[in-house]
Point group: C2
DNA sequence: CTGAAAGCGCTTACAG
DNA sequence: CTGAAAGCGCTTACAG
C-alpha cells in the first residue's frame, strides 16, 4: 500500500499537483476555496508530506546532527534534552550519534551527517579530537560547539564561564572560614580544568591566601579516580579542611575517600563539586556544587543554529553562568583541637 | 559551492552517470578497470553520496526513529546508547525524539517520523499513552517496544523479566535471614510494578512466609516520593528489617527516609533497588539492586528491527533477565534486642 | 559491460 | 490564480 502523494490528491480534487503543493503550504497563489477543498481532501486521505522528496528539492532537510561522546552521560543527556526540545519546537528533527571519543567513529559520523544533508551540526563532546576540527569545519553547514575545549578555533559555541563559577565556589568556602582549601583537578589537561583551576587561584589571591602546591591533586573525572588523590591530601601533615573538585563525579569519589579515612563530610572536611548532576542532591550529604545550566545550554546552542539558518546574525560565543548550589557538604571548619 | 554529484564524476571520467552509480556501489555490472577509475575520481573529488536522493528512489532511508519519554533519564540514556551503537554499525542513523509523556508531542513525533520515511521505530517509554498505540500501529513500518507496559498489544518487544528478577531479589533478603520484608512499589499502576510485586509475593510464598499487607507501601518513582511511605513503614509496631523497592530512585529516597529516623542501612534495615543506575554504586552504602541490561536491551531491540528489514523472521517478544548485584545495602538482620 | 530513459515525490520558475 | 515543464541526485529496468 503506497502512501498518498500530492498527485493522488490532485486527481481526487481535479487540479494539478503543483496546485496541491501550493495549497498545502498555504501559498497565497491559490484561491481560498480550492485551497480549502484540497486541504480537506488531504486530511481525509491521510496525506503526509514526504520530507525526503521535499528535502531533495529545497536542499533544506530540517534536520540537524548532534554528536556527543556518550549519550549515557547524565550531563550530556540533559544538554541533548534542551537541544531536542527546541529543535522540535522549530520543526527540526535531530540525528543523534555517539562518538565514544573514537576518532574513526567521529569521522564516520560526520560523513553520515554530510550524506544525510543535515542543515547544521551541534557538538557536545568534552574532548574533540584534533583531526576532527578541520573535518568539521570543511563541512558546508553551520556548527556550534557546546563546552568545547578549543573555543578559539570555532565560530560558534556556548560555554560555561568556568572561571567566574570557580571563584564563587571557592569564595563560598572562604566565607565559611576555610583557610586550607585543596583543588582536586582533572589529569587530562582539559581546558575546563585549566579554567576551574585558574578560578580557584584567583579566589585565593583576592582573599590574600597563599597558593599551596601541595593542595593541588588530580583525579580522572571518575569517582574511583578520586580515591588516591584524596589519600594524598589526607596524608599531608596538615590536611585541607575543604576540597573543591573538578566535577561531581570526582567529588563523589572524594567523599568516599574521606569516609575511608574515618572522617566525615562536612564535619571534618567540606566538599564542593561542579556540574550539579541529578544525583548530586541524592548523595549523603547532598553535595554543594556549581550547577551548569545544561538544558538551557542545549537550547541556546540550537537557537544559534536556527538564527543562522534564517541568515540572521547570531552570537559567536555565548558564555553562560554557573550557579552555586549550596547543600550540605560544606560547613565551617571545625574549631582546631590540639591533640 | 555545490557538492559534487555523480554527474560531475561521470563528466570527469567520461562515462554515463548510471555507470558511476553502479561503480560506487560495487555493482558487478561494471568492468573492474572503469570501476576503479570512477572510484578514484570519486575520492579525489571528495564525493559523498546524497542519502536523501538515494532514499527517495529506493524508499529505504536507512534511518530509524527512537521515541523516549526523556533522554535525560539515565535508564533511557543507556538504552539509547545500545540502540545507537548497533544502528550505526549497520549503517543506520537514528532520529531521537523526546515525548515528555505528552500525548500531543507523541503524535507530532510519529508524524514527523512518518514524513521522514524512517525504516522503523523504537519506543523506549515506560508509559505509552493509550491513544498512541493505534497511531503507531497504523504506520507501515516495523515497531519494537522496549519495556513497554502493554506487551500483549504489540508484535515486537524486548522486556525485562520482572518476576524472576524480583524473586531473586527477595530470595536474597530471605537467605540473609530477613523475615519482615516490605515492598515499596510505585503508585501509578505500571505493569512493571505489578510484576515486581508479583515476584515479591511469589518469593515470600515459596519460603512459606505470610503476606503482610501492612508491609506494602507505594512511592512515586522519585527519591522524594519515598520518604513518606518509609515513614509509614517505620511507624509500624514492628517495622520491616528489609525493604525491596520498585526502583533505585525509590531506594535512594527510602535510604534518606531511614536516615531521617536515625537508623542505618544495612545495620538496621536492608535495602534493595531495581535498575542499577550508575549512581547506585556511588551512594553510601552502595546499593544492592537488580541490574537491567540496559545497553543490551537497546542493542537487541535494534537487532530485531534489522532482522525485520531483511525480511528475516525475528523474535516477537524477547524477555531478558536481570542480574542481582549485591553491594552493601543488604546484610543479615540485627539480632533482636529487647528493650 | 554500458548508456538512454524513466521515475522517486516534491517545489519552483515560467507562461498564460 | 492555475498548469505544464523542469529539475533536485540518485537508482533501476530496458536495450543494446
Amino acid at each position: 500500500m503506497r502512501p498518498v502523494s500530492i498527485k493522488d490528491i490532485a486527481r481526487e480534487v481535479q487540479v494539478s499537483h503543483p496546485t496541491v503543493s501550493r495549497a498545502l503550504r498555504y501559498s497565497p497563489l491559490v484561491s481560498a476555496k480550492t485551497a480549502e477543498r484540497i486541504r480537506q481532501a488531504a486530511v481525509k486521505m491521510g496525506y503526509r508530506p514526504n520530507a525526503v522528496a521535499r528535502g531533495l528539492v529545497t536542499k533544506k532537510t530540517k534536520t540537524i546532527g548532534v554528536v556527543v561522546t556518550s549519550i549515557a552521560d547524565p550531563f550530556i543527556g540533559e544538554v541533548v534534552s534542551g537541544i531536542e526540545e527546541t529543535a522540535n519546537d522549530h520543526g527540526y528533527s535531530v540525528f543523534l550519534a555517539n562518538s565514544n571519543a573514537d576518532p574513526a567513529r567521529e569521522i564516520r559520523i560526520v560523513h553520515s551527517f554530510q550524506e544525510r544533508q543535515v542543515d547544521g551540526i551541534l557538538v557536545a563532546s568534552s574532548r574533540v579530537g584534533a583531526l576532527y576540527m578541520p573535518l568539521l569545519s570543511q563541512l558546508m553547514v553551520p556548527i556550534v560547539l557546546i563546552n568545547n575545549q578549543h573555543p578559539g578555533e570555532f565560530v560558534h559555541s556556548v560555554v560555561i564561564d568556568n572561571i567566574t563559577a570557580s571563584v564563587q565556589a571557592v569564595q563560598h568556602l572562604i566565607q565559611l572560614g576555610h583557610q586550607r582549601i585543596a583543588y582536586m583537578g582533572d589529569q587530562f589537561g582539559l581546558q575546563s580544568d585549566t579554567e576551574r583551576f585558574a578560578g580557584y587561584r584567583q579566589a585565593l589571591a583576592s582573599a590574600d591566601y597563599p597558593f599551596l602546591p601541595e593542595l593541588i591533586v588530580h583525579g580522572d573525572g571518575t569517582p574511583q579516580g578520586a580515591i588516591q588523590p584524596m589519600d594524598r591530601l589526607l596524608g599531608l601533615p596538615t590536611p585541607p579542611t575543604a576540597v573543591y573538585c573538578y566535577n561531581d563525579m570526582t567529588a563523589i569519589g572524594a567523599l568516599k575517600g574521606i569516609r575511608m579515612h574515618g572522617l566525615r563530610v562536612p564535619d571534618d572536611i567540606s566538599l564542593v563539586g561542579f556540574d550539579d548532576l541529578s544525583f548530586a542532591s541524592y548523595v549523603d550529604p547532598p553535595l554543594t556544587t556549581v550547577r551548569q545550566p545544561k538544558r538551557p545550554m542545549g537550547r541556546q546552542a540550537m537557537e544559534i543554529l536556527i538564527k543562522l539558518f534564517s541568515n540572521a546574525q547570531a552570537e559567536t560565543n555565548i558564555k553562560v553562568q554557573g550557579e552555586l548550589i549550596v547543600r550540605e557538604s560544606t560547613a565551617p571548619p571545625k574549631a582546631k583541637v590540639s591533640r
